[in-house]
């Protein structure tokens, strides 16, 4: 039996945002696309468990996040992107205005703990409600709110300090990562 075209279109309609989220998790565009493909395979194999009329993006984001998390546990040290690899992946988009400011933003975002970055992106960029974001992340609404607040505060701190890179802890962290980050 064919997939209901309306459902198929909902899936396709979610793909662009799903990719953007995947890239923010993986910090790597190729792995993000693999993750999206794997998510779609999984989703379409279990399309019966999707209730028509409910939130398709939230359903797909949840699957993608769970896949990423199970992979993340296996490959934790590779995925840790505090070294700014997330920033690297999105570097060359010449159509962007204010490139320098943009770069600073991306580097700062990459420095956030993964939980905070994820919460901030779901709420601030994907446009999910706090409730949906909490469902996607499998945590309490209050936890999402607190992560989003901490993420914003940390970003503001990082962006407010001119040349924040030159300060102690970050430099120390970067030195450690540069020395042992890649195997």
């Amino acid at each position: 039996m064919k997939l209901d075209p309306a459902i198929r279109d909902q899936v396709l309609g979610t793909v662009p945002s799903l990719r953007a989220f995947a890239i923010s998790l993986c910090g790597n565009i190729d792995r993000a696309d693999d993750l999206v493909q794997e998510t779609l395979l999984r989703a379409l194999a279990h399309i019966d468990s999707f209730e028509p009329g409910t939130n398709m993006p939230a359903w797909l984001f949840t699957i993608l996040r769970n896949l990423f998390r199970s992979e993340y546990r296996k490959r934790r040290r590779e995925v840790e992107d505090a070294d700014g690899r997330y920033a690297e992946t999105l570097k060359s988009h010449p159509e962007q205005t204010g490139r320098v400011e943009f770069e600073e933003f991306r580097v700062a975002l990459a420095k956030l703990p993964a939980d905070q970055r994820e919460a901030l992106i779901l709420v601030g960029a994907s446009g999910f409600s706090y409730d949906d974001a909490a469902a996607i992340c499998g945590c309490a609404v209050g936890t999402i709110k607190s992560r989003v607040n901490r993420a914003r505060t940390r970003l503001a701190d990082l962006l407010a300090i001119e040349g924040a890179d030159d300060f102690g802890p970050d430099r120390a962290t970067r030195a450690v990562l540069a020395g042992g980050g890649r195997n």
């Binding site: 039996m1 064919k2 997939l3 075209p5 198929r8 899936v11 396709l12 793909v15 662009p16 945002s17 990719r19 953007a20 890239i23 923010s24 696309d33 999206v36 493909q37 779609l40 395979l41 379409l44 194999a45 399309i47 019966d48 840790e80 505090a82 999105l90 988009h93 962007q96 400011e101 943009f102 933003f105 991306r106 975002l109 703990p113 939980d115 905070q116 901030l120 992106i121 601030g124 960029a125 994907s126 209050g142 709110k145 607190s146 607040n149 901490r150 914003r152 505060t153 970003l155 503001a156 701190d157 962006l159 407010a160 102690g168 802890p169 970050d170 120390a172 962290t173 450690v176």
Partner: protein, 88 residues
């Protein structure tokens, strides 16, 4: 002097822990639950509107950069192919 060395080590540990993962949040007290999101102990937690707006803009611009790429052909093909041969 041995003690001193230990102290230094502790300091470094603390820095590393903070850099990797935030310390588990303390359970919310009744007092903090009734307060707005700002934390009185941390003045930097109160963000200016302007800063918040800028963060929001940058975040969406970055995200939309990818969203605007649309659906890559190979993914569109995959969804159509799977949809046509759905076993359910």
């Amino acid at each position: 002097m041995g003690e001193r060395g230990k102290d230094d080590e502790m300091k470094h540990r603390k820095t590393n822990v903070e850099a990797v993962e935030p310390v588990a949040p303390k359970p919310e007290t009744q007092d903090s639950m009734t307060r707005p999101a700002t934390n009185p102990h941390k003045p930097e937690a109160r963000l200016g509107r302007e800063v918040q707006a800028r963060i929001g803009q940058q975040l969406r611009a970055m995200y939309d950069d990818v969203v605007n790429q649309g659906v890559p052909d190979h993914i569109a093909d995959l969804v159509r192919r799977l949809g046509d041969h759905n076993q359910n």
